[in-house]
Amino acid sequence: MTVDQSKIRNFCIIAHIDHGKSTLADRIIESTGTLTSREMQAQVLDNMELERERGITIKSQAVRIIYRASDGEEYIFNLIDTPGHVDFNYEVSRSLAACDGAILVVDAAQGVEAQTLANVYLALDHDLDVMPVINKIDLPGAQPEEVIREIEDVIGLEADDAPRISAKTGLNIDQVLEQIVKKIPAPTGDADAPLSALIFDALYDSYKGVIVFCRIREGSVKPGDTIRMMATGAQSEVTEVGYFGAGQFIPCEELSAGMVGYLCASIKNVQDTRVGDTVTNAKRPCSEPLPGYKKVNPMVFCGMYPADSAKYADLRDALVKLQINDASLQFEPETSLALGFGFRCGFLGLLHLEIIQERLEREFNLDLVTTAPGVIYKVHKTNGDVTELTNPSNLPEPSEIEYMEEPLVAAEIMVTSEYVGAIMTLCQERRGIYVSMEYLEETRALIKYDLPLNEIIYDFFDALKSRSRGYASFDYELKGYVRSELVKLDILINREQVDALSFIVFKDSAYDRGRRMCERLKDEIPRHLFEIPIQAAIGGKIIARETVKAMRKDVLAKCYGGDITRKKKLLEKQKEGKKRMRQVGNVEIPQEAFMSVLKLDDDN
């Protein structure tokens, strides 16, 4: 079976967060009858439980749709969903590589936003044709004509004939479908050439093994072929090829140039599959691999430990499985005196960290203890060496350090004018360096600041949202490293240093942070039989102290024949509570305490 390339359209939908990307995807799928109404569930593409709960798209998803156009021909649409959050730029980039065009969704009320621009630039980088769509025209504040002008002015895209739609109500979706046929180019590529296919995603299935999501650039692939992964060299025999129904895999005879689909090849070792790698035919290989993706480096690090130390191997397996379709996740083993064996993990940002943490807990049923997130510091040593520090415990002795550098990001914050003052105050508090501010319109300003990354990984998003009542949007990219006065803050509980609680902090903030950390821990650590001092120290010097007073009285006053069972349950509960504790010296520390540094600023 050969498919006429001119009848294929591979495209994605890009948008700023909340502009209606997933809703439009739903409408497209629905109106082409890919799903029966019984299968149709809001936001079909967001099939991870977590995605639906948060209403965001994390992983890219793909679906194949058959559309009969007004010219009477049937077209195959391959729709690839992309995430919208800044942390997942890497995912966006991967999805775009599998497409020939992109639908740009812009909210008719909010207009062009930070992520609108970022995503358009990404799409243009991948040589995609971008087709604008104005969404939410049913909203009272919708100003579609102004938004169209904005798209033309700010982005430089022709938008006059952009469909004015409401993805929510389904208004004018037919125009979108027709324009996909006319404006998105058909794929090119020689079906008879040697196979070259780009892996844009992969997932692990306990029955089928690794399922590779790929875009066939040249040649074709069918069951029985022996394929080779060009980067890893792994070879295996293809057992199944197919395309994506909504939420399910539909096998077919062959995938050929221009098609988007999946293949299974009894790949044993999940690490043999790398997203961005090229698949070719082992017997008739292509001459060189397709250009992969720009490797994205993690910026935020933290330690992840199984709450039950016996689950170390389970945590490792889970991380390996998550990594096959999330190459931006990095991890390496580390040990902590307080927490035992675990992993130092690298993430694109704090949201990415949270998502991975939640996926580990939900999909793999792991109970985790996470340490305070940090960034990569550059330590210039007196002997001329430069080391990159991701774990505060590995900081060399102060006498060996010449100076340290910390990462700086260029941040862009879009905010309505009434909150400009509040946002600038926030940036100043976070050691921000003012760069510029411009009014995009009378009521909207774009503020640019250079901010130390370690000031924004804790709770900057939350602070931003609360101080702007949710009106600010935020984007950042790594700018480089700057020299900074940094110190390691250690926490001592009952006079023992707890390595998992150490963190690197700007020197002038150290006293304040140390004090708040001690206060927080005092609330988190339950009373013991003895008094427990909690101290913050820099080097050997104690800078703050709190005390958890000894428990004086813990008694069940009454226990007679009728309530023995109930009283025993109370004792059991008390003992059960201890299981969620970590023993450090002779002190039991609740697991939440290790994350408590995160919440230091929640009184903002």
């Binding site: 039989l529 009285k553 006053a557 009454k558 024949g561 009728g562 023995i564 025993k568 004792l571």
Partner: protein, 411 residues
């Protein structure tokens, strides 16, 4: 002949106190009569079932048993004597609340063989009594106490509470002094526990949260004050000649409550009446808790089998059949580990703790074979003492007894 204790529950009160989470309610006389009739059927039924057991103690508790008219108590105890063999020197207690008794009632109690009176005073301060939602004043209590003495009762308990909302250390001291002057044979001094589902819980839940967070509560005494109150209790009662024989119980030597000691030593006990619990040959039963359902079901009590899912050590689940009767709401076999746990945490409530020989007799192995590590740790922490064949908590151990007792729960 096998022995057992007998508990009889009377679930009625003139008014529900604000802190109380016991099974009791305010009901009219007709309902009370129906209940007493049901109770008589239950007792008669067990008379058939446990003919071969001797009853060592009888305890009529509530609720407010003294609120029932005296004829009800007479018929209950007559039925008990018809149904069971009662030891001639059995301890027979009834719980009384001031304001529900007359001299005549006390004289009837004496005639039917009641030999111990337990009076719920709680506080000698009328403001505190009001805040607790008690129906009586201190003066009314004094009257009741005198009536009991006049009618020849020589074994009287007075219930007290510390840690009440708005109570200061000196307020509590005043109550203790007044009670000591009366020279009761027995004093139960509890610190108030605020239980979910009571009006007090609603009233003071914010204070409870504050306490939990280590903040000073607004209405309730702080942890330190409550601690001082319990310290004061022990000191003053010791000085007045009372021995502390359990966490909250004090007595003139020889007047310790035998019925309650039975609970802590895991003796067999049969509980009759609404919601009452029993422990018979290591099966724990509890009766139906709905008043009308209980009354209805007692019209035709039958023996039968209770089916329980029983999980084996290897994880397999099998159905275990336990002997039970039709008014039971639950029946549960106490496994060997659970028996040991209960032996320890109940036994350690008493100041003389547990006996090593008793443990060995019960479980066929020395206590160290099970609790070696725990015992060593608690001794090291200064919470436990081993002495002359007994193992008991230190004073500090009693202050933090929840911690100490939780250590004896087996994995």
């Amino acid at each position: 002949m096998k022995q057992m204790e007998l508990y009889i529950h009377i679930p009625f009160c003139m008014r529900k106190c604000r802190y109380c989470d016991f099974l009791s309610s305010v009901e009219d006389e007709a309902t009370q009569n129906l209940y007493v009739r049901a109770l008589l059927s239950e007792i008669a039924f067990y008379g058939g079932l446990y003919r071969n057991r001797t009853v060592t103690t009888v305890y009529i508790g509530g609720g407010t048993p003294s609120w029932l008219k005296e004829s009800a108590i007479v018929s209950i105890l007559n039925e008990v004597r018809r149904a069971f063999v009662i030891l001639p020197d059995a301890e027979v207690t009834i719980e009384c609340n001031p304001g529900t008794l007359t001299g005549y009632k006390f004289s009837v109690y004496r005639r039917v063989g009641i030999n111990r009176i337990s009076i719920g005073l709680q506080s000698a301060d009328d403001d505190e009594l009001k805040r607790l939602g008690r129906v009586h004043t201190y003066a009314q209590f004094l009257k009741t106490y005198e009536l009991a003495r006049q009618n020849g009762f020589s074994n009287i308990n007075i219930d007290l509470m510390s840690g009440l909302p708005g109570q200061s250390l000196s307020d509590y001291k005043a109550t203790l002094q007044k009670v000591i002057r009366l020279k009761p044979e027995h004093i139960s001094a509890y610190s108030l526990m605020i239980e979910e589902g009571t009006p007090y819980y609603e009233q003071y839940k914010f204070d409870l949260v504050r306490q939990e967070a280590g903040l000073k509560p607004q209405f309730l005494p702080s942890e330190d004050e409550v601690y001082q109150m319990t310290q004061l209790t022990s000191q003053m009662l010791a000085a007045a000649g009372y021995g502390q024989y359990e966490i909250s119980n004090f007595a003139v030597r020889g007047y310790e409550c035998r019925h309650n000691i039975g609970y802590w030593r895991r003796e067999n006990y049969l509980g009759v009446g609404l919601g009452a619990s029993s422990l018979i040959d290591n099966i724990r039963y509890s009766n139906l808790r709905d008043l009308h359902e209980y009354i209805e079901q007692t019209k035709q009590i039958r023996s039968g089998l209770w089916e329980n899912e029983h999980k084996e050590a290897d994880g397999t689940v099998r159905i275990e059949e336990l002997p039970a009767v039709s008014i039971h709401a639950s029946a549960e076999r106490i496994g060997r580990n659970a028996q040991m746990e209960e032996f320890m945490f109940l036994g350690l409530r008493m100041t003389d703790g547990i006996s090593r020989t008793a443990f060995e007799q019960c479980f066929g192995k020395p206590i160290e074979a099970v609790y070696q590590d725990v015992l060593l740790r608690l001794v090291k922490e200064g919470l436990l003492v081993k002495h002359a064949g007994r193992i008991f908590l230190t004073e500090r151990g009693r202050d933090v007894s929840n911690y100490a007792m939780a250590q004896f729960l087996l994995p």
